[in-house]
């Protein structure tokens, strides 16, 4: 018997990309991440031309088209520059709600991107309104560190 000609039916072909990658972190980024792992330190790189201390540590200052040449330790504390709170569950992303923030660490001329915790998110709007830009933040380090930016578990307000 012929199959029913159902014009409204469309076949959906499901595909998942599952391709493993191994990213060698190079000389500069490796040192940056090793300092996380071994010393709980955040080390920036200073540009010899514009003198800015760059976080994350980079080999090149793109503004000056030059190579950075000095390691500078920055504080693992700083001021909140901006943030956003993810409220919807997206495929492959962490479960909501979670806060993503940019923090200007003491001694750095750029920010660091990280999770922000230690905030009651039972009412997201209230949390967002009460968390002020400029709030002092401190890194909370993991006990077991492996050489990854997630060796910092999150940042949280200092008070």
């Amino acid at each position: 018997m012929a199959t029913k000609d159902n014009k409204d039916e469309y076949i959906i072909v499901e595909q998942t990309w599952n391709v493993p990658f191994r990213h060698y972190a190079g000389e500069i980024t490796s040192r940056y991440l090793k300092e996380f792992r071994d010393n709980k330190k955040i080390m920036g790189r200073r540009c010899p031309k514009c003198k800015r201390v760059l976080i994350p540590a980079r080999k090149n200052c793109e503004r000056c088209f030059t190579e950075t040449d000095e390691w500078i330790e920055v504080n693992d504390e700083g001021k909140l520059v901006t943030f956003s709170i993810n409220c919807i569950k997206y495929v492959g992303m962490p479960d909501p709600p979670y806060i993503m923030g940019l923090i200007r660490l003491d001694g750095a001329d750029t920010d660091i991107l990280h999770y922000i915790k230690g905030i009651d998110l039972s009412d997201v709007d209230k949390a967002g309104r009460e968390l002020k830009i400029g709030t002092r933040m401190k890194a909370v380090w993991k006990e077991v560190r492996v050489g990854n930016v997630t060796d910092i578990d999150y940042f949280m307000p200092t008070v």
Binding site: Y10, Q15, W17, F21, H23, A25, T29, L33, L54, I55, P56, E62, R63, V81, T82, F83, S84, I85, N86, C87, I88, Y90, V91, G92, M93, P94, P97, Y98, M100, G101, L102, T110, D111, I112, L113, H114, Y115, V124, D125, G128, I133, N148, V149, T150
Partner: protein
């Protein structure tokens, strides 16, 4: 020598096209060719503006360019919004390499998880593992801008109300329901402080543009629209390293485009603008970067109704990206809409006496890249 726009085509934006994505490319191409009254044989070059991964394919132009009629023609794919592809196509004609070019963006967002895909655009060493995606970055940018200049939620809501109202009169728009300020300000949070009605949806759609050299255009087209200005720029990738309250790339792109088009006073010289309003706040920030007002004053502009359909400088009569967001075609759609306005073919969302139009797009985290095009009739 000048470059003319002699044809534009688009397909309606919607949540999910159920036909194969490369079939959409054929529809888009046919629409633009029909509008130009050209045969595909008269096209020398096909330039696609499309991403990888968005439809789960590497090199998706392998399918879209042949479907659009690119067989045995010159081709190139710009891996960015179609408005950048238009810029490259323009230069190919100005270089004397081609007389005609089809610019194509097939924007299919429904085939994959776009938030995760934007996460895949992050450097694997510092950003990828932190659960960041473009909407979250837009939220951070919106908050910083809002706090810096005291932009109110009501002002943001007004942008959404304006654009969604305009979209109701655009048959190609994806979201065609009006919303009220109240509804916007009470809608669900997406990436706080952004609410669902303050940011663009994901859409399936697409558009194409036929460009021609001046001499070719004179032969085949009675009323061509001319590209008089083009500018594009790139700032830093690092969110850590920039002032998110300014659309710096847009500012630089606009300066270049204005200089080329001889525009000294944007507000006076431009009659209609189509802006990449990926969020309501990005539309406001774009007013400032494009020189429609001073820094931090965009809120007043929306309060005064300056950018409404009947305002001094209507922005997004089509409904903008807040109403339709066929990824990779969203910027080129802005251009197509400007051309329709200048040709007085925008039907129900037509504004009066538009001679000069501005099309704008931003792409990347924190609006890293931007392209601005000026068209005149």
């Amino acid at each position: 020598m000048r470059v003319a726009v002699i044809g534009v085509g688009q397909i309606p934006a919607e949540t999910c096209k159920r036909d194969v994505f490369s079939d959409q490319s054929a529809l888009i191409s046919k629409a633009a060719l029909a509008d130009a009254a050209l045969d595909i044989g008269q096209i020398n070059n096909v330039v696609a503006g499309e991403y990888d991964l968005v439809t789960g394919r590497t090199a998706e132009h392998m399918y879209t360019i042949p479907s659009a009629g690119g067989y045995l023609k010159d081709e190139i794919r710009i891996n960015d919004d179609g408005l950048f592809a238009l810029a490259q196509a323009y230069m190919g004609i100005m270089a004397g390499e081609f007389e005609t070019t089809l610019v194509l963006s097939t924007g299919i967002s429904s085939e994959g998880p776009q938030e995760l895909i934007t996460n895949m655009r992050l450097a694997p060493f510092y950003h990828r593992q932190l659960g960041l995606h473009e909407k979250l970055a837009n939220g951070m940018q919106a908050l910083q801008y809002r706090e810096r200049y005291g932009v109110t939620m009501k002002q943001s809501a007004k942008v959404a109300v304006k654009n969604r109202k305009n979209a109701v009169r655009n048959g190609y728009a994806h979201l065609q329901q009006e919303v009220t300020e109240e509804e916007v300000m009470k809608s669900e949070f997406d990436c706080w402080p952004l609410r669902v009605l303050e940011r663009a949806p994901w859409s399936d759609g697409g558009c194409a543009v036929v460009l021609a050299s001046e001499s070719f255009a004179r032969r085949v087209c009675l009323h061509p629209v001319w590209i008089t200005g083009l500018g594009w720029s790139n700032e830093t990738y690092y969110l850590e390293d920039k002032d998110l309250t300014h659309l710096t790339a847009t500012k630089h792109a606009a300066q270049r485009a204005y200089k080329m088009a001889g525009i000294n006073n944007a507000v006076k010289d431009i009659d209609v603008a189509e802006i990449y309003d990926v969020t309501t706040y990005h539309e406001l920030m774009a007013y400032e970067a494009l020189g429609f007002c001073k820094e931090g004053e965009a809120g007043h502009l929306i309060d005064e109704g300056f950018t409404q359909m009947n305002g001094d400088l209507p922005v997004n009569p089509s409904g903008g990206v807040l109403s339709s967001n066929p990824l990779s075609a969203s910027g080129l759609s802005r251009f197509v809409e400007c051309v329709l306005q200048l040709r007085e073919q925008a039907q129900d969302h037509q504004i009066k006496n538009a001679c000069t139009g501005l099309a704008h797009c931003i792409t990347g985290y924190g609006a890293q890249r931007s392209c601005v095009a000026i068209v005149r009739r």
